[in-house]
């Protein structure tokens, strides 16, 4: 397998990890904003408790993806930075406000006490995954072109295409689904039921939005549609859909741990399927993995440094999750 494909694969793994870890933190913010019913404050407390120790580590996967992109595929990063200038700035605004508001509101998570920062946290958590989804949509929907190193953007907001909006909405629904499913494992009793209902609601929305997005892909991005049906991506996507159904079924039966595992597989495979369908393009149809790759020495450095980094990171992450994600007696 060519060097640049391996590095691109590592980047896709980074996107997936950001999706299943960082995505759930955005989803937590969504459920903070829409906390309701008699246990509203308890819901918010459970979300804050789940996110507190881990969200910064989860957030690092986004930085990982960006650094990998500009190290291994510099011209692609440059083109994305020009073509998605607006949407990236709004993503950064959302990321900054979400993170700042989460710590600024302090331990008083009940919204009366948390004040405006509590609201900022929730709203930024809703908007940011939509924008990130729209950015993913934009690189698939040829909403800007790259010719001879020059980026040509049609209109001021090329990322406001229907496909982008649909993928943005789907991203939000998936984040909300992941968070609610994770929270069913981390709570008990009525609170657990609250999150189960929320997970079922978000899951239904995911199915609805997926049904809406697929025909849109066929119409607007035929190359992506063909890619999804290709022998490369189709088995991954089909397994992902099966995992989605399995996680929904497990939720209905209150089998929360299997539901969580299946939800993780579902989101991972959907993102992997998108990556495989998009292959070999980083930005369709002008920038490919091959022609934007950095010199081999740099690619080799990236590839060899990954396992060394993982030797340090994996045990550290294991420790973090063991300390905070195993239930206290």
């Amino acid at each position: 397998m060519p060097l640049e494909d391996l590095v691109a694969g590592a980047g896709l793994v980074g996107v997936i990890l950001y999706g299943v870890l960082g995505g759930a933190d955005f989803g937590g913010g969504v459920w903070d904003l829409f906390a309701g019913g008699p246990r509203r404050d308890e819901q918010r407390a459970a979300i804050a408790h789940a996110m507190g120790p881990v969200w910064e580590a989860n957030h690092v996967w986004l930085i990982f993806v960006i650094v990998l992109l500009f190290t291994a595929f510099p011209p692609a990063f440059a083109a994305l930075s020009i073509g998605l200038f607006g949407v990236f700035h709004f993503v950064l605004l959302g990321v900054s406000l979400r993170g700042a508001a989460f710590v600024f509101r302090g331990p008083h998570v009940a919204h009366g006490e948390a004040g405006h920062w509590g609201t900022v946290f929730g709203v930024a958590s809703v908007i940011t995954p939509v924008l990130l989804g729209m950015a993913i949509g934009a690189v698939s929907a040829s909403s800007f072109r790259v010719r001879d190193g020059q980026v040509q953007v049609a209109g001021a907001t090329p990322w406001l295409a229907p496909v982008s909006l649909a993928i943005g909405a789907l991203a939000l629904a998936l984040c909300a689904y992941l968070a609610a499913v994770y929270l069913t494992v981390e709570t008990r009793g009525e609170l657990q039921e609250d999150f189960r209902r929320r997970a079922l609601l978000a899951g239904t929305v995911v199915v609805g939005l997926a049904a809406l997005t697929l025909p849109l892909l066929k119409l607007e991005t035929p190359h992506l549609w063909r890619g999804l049906l290709s022998i490369r991506a189709a088995p991954v996507v089909v397994t992902g859909v099966a995992a989605a159904l399995l996680s929904g079924w497990a939720l209905l039966r209150r089998r929360f741990r299997p539901a969580r595992a299946a939800a993780i597989v579902q989101v991972s495979l959907l993102l992997a399927g998108w990556g495989l369908a998009q292959y070999p393009y980083l930005i369709y149809p002008d920038v490919t993995i091959q022609d934007s790759a950095a010199p081999p020495a740099t690619l080799r450095f990236v590839l060899y440094s990954l396992p060394i980094g993982l030797v340090i990171l994996v045990p550290s992450l294991w420790l973090l999750l063991r300390v905070f994600k195993t239930r206290q007696a």
Binding site: T71, F77, P295
Partner: protein, 446 residues
């Protein structure tokens, strides 16, 4: 406002904001480890209170540091896509290694900030060590990128002007890496430690003469004075590197227009680049030759040896350098005064405490001014001698809008942060009972 000015302003705002937070990320863990270590050794609760208080402040600072750092990693491309498209493959590895260090920091920070009740006291203290080390390491690693931009090495240019034959570790071979990394790391400890000392000096001034405030001041001043005393040595190292590899920057720092042997060191003064004169400066004969080359008769190149379109802004570079050095020496004096007073008659002397409060922001002023020297002094280049800033900038015309957006964002976040930190500082020790913040952090799920 044109795109280039707006992009430079946005970079300055973003980097200037992040720098303060990054400095706290490097230095606060050391202070926490010292306080918590003293608690483990002596069992005196006020050390524990100090560590808890500093951890609370750090929780706010680190979160903002993480998000503003994320913004910078995007902004490198958003503002300078041609620079990143050209040099991403060579500066990327240093960022990648920094990413790993930052990852370790974020993981152990989660353990440290939220693990007070979940880890044994010793395990908790040990969890702080990777935070302190990886914070320092990420700073050192990211300085390699800047060092490479000051003195690019480790590549060849092909016929179409693209980088080829890249050494992936080129950034670490730049002659500026060590000088910048050492100078910048020390300045982070200086800035944060003097700022913390100012908080406890203010408490003592208000009559809170307890062990909590005395120890807070002593721990901070231990770090502050040690690092402040080391800084001139590292500054000398940096200055000589500049003399060798960026003589035009050194000339601008010193506002030296004509090449001369036995060049004087100028203190203060306002340079006028148009007329090539420096007014109101105090000259120390042979000073610059002595400092830059360790030889009083050495020849130092002046600005007039270089084409004017390769000069940095002389006024800014010179003034920022004067501010940095002035603050640095003022802080050294403050540190020596503190320890002398402590040795002779105790530190609770009103004028000393007032001076410590007044000196609290000076370390950050010096840190920012030092980066102005480095960055403005590198202009008009993004990559010294290789790519001009005007050629690196984005073609997107909306930069003035994004500049306004980010300025407003960071102004708002900065004001809110300062307000919250002041509230934390005023609350006094967390164990005092008067505090409104519950000890356990967030409420626990059932």
């Amino acid at each position: 406002m044109d795109i280039l000015s707006a992009a430079r302003a946005q970079m300055a705002v973003s980097l200037g904001f992040h720098m303060v937070l990054a400095a706290t990320g490097i230095a606060m863990p050391l202070l926490m480890l010292m306080a918590e270590g003293l608690w483990l050794r002596t069992g005196q609760p006020h050390y524990h209170d100090l560590a808890r208080k500093w951890a609370k402040a750090s929780g706010l600072l680190f979160a903002l540091g993480a998000v503003s750092g994320t913004a910078l990693s995007f902004e490198l491309g958003l503002l300078w896509p041609r620079f990143m498209g050209f040099a991403g493959g060579i500066v990327g590895p240093a960022f990648a290694l920094e990413g790993f260090a930052f990852f370790v920091e974020a993981i152990f920070l989660g353990l440290y900030l939220y693990g007070w009740d979940r880890l044994s006291p010793l395990a908790h203290w040990l969890a702080g060590i990777p935070v302190a080390l990886s914070g320092l390491l990420s700073g050192i690693l990211v300085c390699a990128v800047n060092a490479w931009m000051q003195a690019p090495v480790g590549f060849e240019l092909d016929h179409s002007g693209r980088l080829t034959n890249i050494d992936p570790l080129a950034t670490f071979r730049s002659p500026f890496w060590l000088p910048i990394a050492i100078h910048s790391s020390l300045s982070c400890y200086i800035a944060v430690a003097f700022a913390v000392a100012g908080v406890y000096a203010a408490g003592l001034l208000r009559g809170r003469r307890d062990a909590y405030h005395r120890s807070g001041l002593t721990i901070a001043m231990t770090v502050a004075t040690t690092t402040a005393l080391l800084q001139p040595v590292s500054g000398d190292f940096s200055g000589r590197a500049a003399a060798r590899h960026q003589p035009v920057k050194l000339a601008a720092m010193e506002a030296l227009f004509d090449t001369q042997a036995g060049a004087p060191l100028v203190i203060g003064g306002i340079p006028d680049a148009a007329s090539g004169e420096l007014r109101f400066g105090i000259e120390i004969p042979y000073g610059l030759s002595l400092l830059a080359a360790h030889d009083p008769h050495a020849v130092i190149q002046g600005l007039n040896d270089f084409p004017p379109d390769e000069w940095p802004n002389v006024l800014w570079t010179h003034l920022a350098f004067q501010v940095m050095v002035g603050c640095g020496f003022a802080l050294i004096g403050l540190g020596l005064w503190f320890w002398w007073a402590r040795w002779r008659r105790g530190v609770e002397h009103r004028w000393l405490l007032r001076a410590l409060v007044a000196g609290a922001p000076l370390g950050f002023v010096a840190l920012e001014a030092g980066w102005v020297v480095t960055e403005v002094g590198r202009q008009p280049w993004t990559i010294y001698g290789l790519m001009r800033t005007a050629d690196a900038v984005t073609p997107v015309p909306d930069v003035p809008i994004s500049l306004a957006l980010f300025s407003a964002l960071y102004l708002g976040l900065g004001v809110a942060l300062v307000g919250l930190l002041l509230r934390l500082a005023r609350q006094g020790p967390p164990g005092a009972g008067a505090t409104a913040v519950p000890e356990k952090g967030v409420a626990h799920a059932p």
